[in-house]
Subunit: 435 residues, 2 copies
């Protein structure tokens, strides 16, 4: 048997601890599966003295991750620090430059510097593996990079943030509002104290950046993504979605269009009977549409120490087995720059909910504004609003579902409706995804 | 760029044609993705003169696949002939012994000779890749062998035969009976003239054999699988399932139990709201339960030229990239023999439907037989049968759902009920899977 593969592990948080536990649990079988033993040779963590239920006795300790990354004894630098800049980036770069393989679950780092880091890894002939950075334990990086490379992929999309999916599922099942469920999720540790990164859609956008590059062979370009979070989703939307045969999910979607690559993160209506509509709680899923394969979907745990450690371990086993692939499947220098399709050119169906002053002519004026933009409606339902939700006078709720139309048209129509003064709140607009 | 990878392609049926089309369609991008061009250097097919809508002009032709498999010019032998014995086996063995990499979609061959062929491939240091042999285009071999190797897998299961799933979906949606839907499926090309292999569960068992070895690191052992097909499923079962909150799917299931590895293929009741219950038509799915990952599911097209060609191509690209893994993830000599858990030790819930002579005491006698085996019932419903389904006298349909119990007990109870003479047809028994 070959020598042990020696890991330098930076960051002993949830995922890092999970990895330590996994390596201990698999001590007997890993050498067989990986072709050689795998050992944690050294670690680095911010808080050396923190009490942990894992055994790290006898493992060398570095206070500086960069020192760890370049230590002559280690073969693979496992970066579980996180963050797009700073020490994580510095350490990963140092490791690659020293000819160390890198395994990371740091989506922020790769979403912002993926192309450059991949080029650096290729220059030094080492791996830069990041299965744990997208959709937790779901082996989707491998699925695209190794399982579906015969296909031209037309669309990749999914539920990529467990916190959002947990909140939406909870809102739906218990009829509670966003702020209320968020507070509970924070108390239970399902949401961060500052939840913006998750509920604002940015975490989803990080992951979508990587999926886009893998699927389309393009340069990582986080800024090209249109991002909307779930903060504005109200129980009224979830109820109306249910009536219309939909469920609301925060999706990340990337697809090829005539005007470029469209990348967007936003709450989305998906038909109830689809698989994606039934991915609940903290689960994630990723769907890939390819020309030969058709549609494939992977569903599984999107976060957590165990699942993410499983993904990180698969990347480490690849290295142990001697598999060093190009990080994004093709050379970093071949990753294409691409035209970003502007969000206003997006085409699809729209759900629109308006809180309307209930007076003569309002309904007609709204319909007129939609028609003026050439938007045809699939359905329109007017309901007297609950009295507690009206600020002044009598309010009605108008829910419209459009046929396929353009984002530009919908935005213009809604702006005009707002200007007309018939609505007492910002119109709610949720895109419907064709599945 | 490296020299072209030269393929010898044996078998130009649906999948073979799909592969030829795929290679032509990707001529521009394959070199980038695979690191080198990929060419079909030579082919072999039973019917050279058959009209095909693919261009094979200029490609060398062999009438004998074994000659093709050992031709000095080819790097990879792509076996798409099929069949567990005969020329396919001979050609694959010849290719491996000559040091050629082999890519195959032949599940029958591998289910029966997987361990031996893997050992042969390892001895000669070449790949034996078979992504296309399990669940068509779904990259599940890679998912288990490369994506989830950090886990101890406790169960692997799925819908592995598109024909059966198509028939069951159609029976359910249209309320038609098995024979009727089968005839239509045959006319439309969704089922073979001799459908036994598919509807009898044997194709599912072939695939389950491979999944079991990949998941548990065991020797391929087709004979260890308990197999039941879908031929006995009646509209009455589908209706009763619906009433009870289930759908009926043909599943292949392998799991570790205290008495060994349990492998079984049979119609199964799955709760309606689960993802697997909503995998319809010709789609397949595979679910994997691991100790660190939790539960993962992959859904996609389970058959057809395009999807299977996509899977075969991913195997070829692995070879082009220089990735040569052990076929089952660990050395063939390390694959374990295992104790087969007898089907009578299976534990689970059961659905039982009896056609009972409607006379005093029958119901009590049946209940008594169940109780005598210590089987407790979750529900029992008696219905007057439709008059057309009774052979003589008045019939009643009794549908029982048991709590978790053993197969042995259920079989004994049903045998006793049959002996008692209260039923006029063989009892129907469908297992309920805990998900």
């Amino acid at each position: 048997m070959a020598d042990a593969l020696k890991l330098g592990l930076a960051g002993i948080g949830t995922v890092g601890s999970g990895l330590v536990r996994l390596i201990a649990a698999r001590a007997g079988t890993l050498p067989q599966r990986a072709g050689r033993p795998i050992e944690i040779a050294a670690i680095s963590t911010r808080n050396k003295r923190k009490k942990r239920d894992i055994d790290l006795s006898g493992v060398r300790f570095f206070s500086n991750p960069v020192k760890l990354a370049t230590d002559p004894e280690i073969d693979v630098f496992v970066e579980l620090i996180g963050g797009e800049e700073g020490i994580a980036k510095e350490a990963v770069e140092a490791a690659l430059k020293t000819g160390k393989h890198v395994v990371t679950a740091n989506k922020a780092l790769l979403a912002h510097h993926g192309t450059a880091l991949a080029a650096l890894a290729e220059k030094h002939g080492v791996a830069l593996n990041f299965e744990g950075a997208v959709a937790g334990g779901i082996p989707v990086v491998k699925a695209i990079r190794e399982g579906l490379q015969g296909n031209d992929i037309t669309r990749v999309y999914g539920i990529l943030n467990g916190t959002c999916n947990y909140i939406l599922t909870k809102m739906e099942r218990e009829g509670r509002d966003f702020a209320d469920v968020l507070k509970e999720a924070q108390a239970q540790g399902y949401a961060e104290a500052d939840p913006t990164f998750d509920v604002g859609g940015f975490d989803t956008a990080h992951k979508l950046t990587l999926l886009t590059s893998l699927a389309f062979g393009t340069r990582t370009k986080f800024d090209a993504i249109y991002v909307e979070g779930i903060e504005t989703i109200a129980p009224a939307d979830i109820e109306a979605a249910d009536d219309l045969g939909y469920r609301i999910k925060l999706l990340g979607v990337a697809l090829r269009t005539d005007s470029g690559i469209e990348q967007r993160v936003h709450p989305t209506m998906v038909p109830k009977e689809t698989a994606i509509a039934n991915v609940d709680g903290v689960s994630n899923c990723v769907a890939i549409d390819g020309d030969f394969i058709g549609d494939v979907m992977l569903i599984g745990p999107g976060a957590g120490g165990g699942p993410t450690a499983s993904a990180v371990m698969s990347d480490i086993i690849d290295v142990a087995r001697g598999t060093t692939l190009l990080p994004f499947g093709i050379k970093a220098t071949s990753l294409k720059s691409y035209k970003k399709a502007a969000m206003r050119t997006h085409e699809g169906g729209y759900y629109i909910r308006l809180s309307v002053h209930d007076r003569t002519g309002a309904f007609a004026a709204i319909a007129q504004r939609m028609a003026a933009q050439g938007i045809s409606l699939q359905s329109i339902v007017q309901r007297r609003a609950h009295s507690e939700s009206s600020k002044s006078g009598t309010q009605a709720s108008v829910v419209m579902v459009t046929h396929e139309t353009t984002e530009a048209g919908v935005r213009k129509a809604l702006a005009a409706i707002e200007r007309d003064g018939h609505v007492d709140a910002k119109p709610q607009m949720i895109r419907i995804e064709k599945l």
